[in-house]
């Protein structure tokens, strides 16, 4: 056993333990249910958006990979919609809530963060950049989002989800 990669194994097991712990809970800043209830006052019944082939293709173009599931649930009233989306930053899923009002992002909140680094993406100073953002040509945001050193992939994941929330909102209102 002395010639086996002990240190590496210890690190791997440590990482595996951390991953397991993270999977079990993650860093929960707000339960998705509570986020929806906060927006609407109480939690309305969810609606579902089925991702047809065409929607899947457009979602894949936004995400850079095919969407993980074929059905997206959301909550909406006459002018607002709320989307709870998940996207991998580096290795783990980030769960974020997006409130879209009249085709523009009203506010964004990181609800669950499971990565070991990059938690800065949940700070209001970063997330306020998305306020009033809408989709421009090519389903891109109409503005640039300033990155955060050390959280590049998480920033990119939040930006992808913001674009997807705006895209889904547009489709959901048709």
């Amino acid at each position: 056993m002395s010639w086996r990669p002990r240190r590496s194994l210890a690190l791997f097991m440590l990482a595996l333990g951390a991953v397991a712990a993270g999977l079990a809970r993650g860093e929960i800043y707000q339960e998705p249910d509570a986020f929806v209830a906060e927006v609407f006052g109480s939690k309305p019944a969810p609606k579902v958006l089925w991702l047809t082939r065409d929607i899947q293709a457009q979602a894949a173009a936004i995400l850079g990979h095919p969407p993980a599931q074929l059905r997206q649930r959301y909550w909406s009233d006459s002018h607002r919609s709320v989307w709870i989306l998940e996207e991998i930053g580096k290795e783990e899923l980030i769960t974020a809530g997006f409130v879209v009002v009249d085709g523009r992002i009203d506010h964004v909140r990181v609800l669950v963060y499971r990565e070991s680094r990059g938690q800065e993406v949940r700070t209001p100073s970063f997330l306020k950049q998305f306020k009033e953002a809408k989709l421009a040509l090519g389903d891109r945001l109409d503005r640039g989002i300033d990155g955060i050193a050390g959280a590049t992939l998480s920033v990119a994941a939040i930006e992808r989800m913001a674009r997807l929330a705006l895209f889904f909102d547009r489709i959901g209102r048709k």
Binding site: P5, L9, V19, L70, R71, R73, K90
Partner: protein, 242 residues
């Protein structure tokens, strides 16, 4: 002197060629991991898991519905013979409705099309309660048993309290030894590709002395650089080319 240096330069270069190639390839792959799509990818091989000292857990049982079979071990699910994903929780059951089937874990439901395509993953917020203790079906409804009671839903969007009567609960089926071996091979634990590359690059893959070998290779690279510079410059200096 130059001839001797040239000979040793060539010998060292040739002897270390394979190691330098490994260092170069793993270094390039690590630098461009995201572009190469290596992030979050796993390598699955029993020998590799053994090398890392990771004990492979064989699946103890399977869940069967009318048309679907689910075996799980080492954070992986084998759904109808196809691997369904990584880092998945242990399933508590599998039920099949008309054109979909649903796998339950403690904290989530995974709704699949008949062809195995994931329709939706329902986290705790979308469930009537968690942890889920058991999943079953009754009259074209999915039924969940939780600590706070039994709930049923026809569409997984809204849940109502229900009775346990006439519910067919999903129960695990024992595996024969041969089935267990076959599933174990398919569900071998994985090593992150980036972890593997890093260990190959640093030498840690080879164990305690691996990093020392890489240190030696670094020294050899220094020797090759200096001897190469010497072989390049000295003849020119003597030839008055500088």
């Amino acid at each position: 002197m130059l001839r001797l240096l040239r000979r040793w330069h060539a010998r060292i270069g040739f002897a270390a060629m394979l190691f330098f190639l490994i260092l170069a390839v793993t270094g390039l792959a690590l630098n461009h991991g995201p572009d190469l799509g290596l992030e979050g990818r796993f390598v699955h091989a029993e020998w590799l898991a053994r090398w890392y000292g990771i004990k492979s857990e064989p699946p103890r049982h399977v869940f069967r519905s009318g048309h679907h079979v689910l075996a799980a071990a080492n954070g992986r699910w084998l759904l109808d013979g196809k691997i369904s994903g990584e880092k998945l929780p242990p399933p508590v059951g599998l039920v099949e409705l008309a054109d979909v089937f649903v796998v339950a874990s403690n904290a989530a439901l995974y709704v699949y099309r008949g062809n195995g395509q994931l329709i939706e993953r329902l986290g705790p917020g979308a469930l009537p309660d968690s942890p889920v203790q058991a999943i079953g079906s009754s009259a074209r409804r999915i039924v969940l048993r939780t600590a706070s009671g039994v709930f049923a839903s026809a569409d997984t969007l809204s849940w109502r309290r229900a009775s346990e009567r006439s519910v067919r609960w999903s129960v695990p089926a024992e595996l024969s030894i041969s089935e267990q071996r076959a599933y174990e091979e398919a569900l071998a634990p994985g090593i992150l590709v980036e972890q593997l590359l890093l260990d190959l690059h640093s030498g840690r893959f080879a164990g305690r002395y691996g990093p020392l070998v890489v240190d030696l290779l670094a020294l050899l690279l220094v020797v090759l650089s200096l001897s190469g510079a010497w072989l390049f410059l000295v003849p020119r200096m003597h030839g008055g080319k500088l």
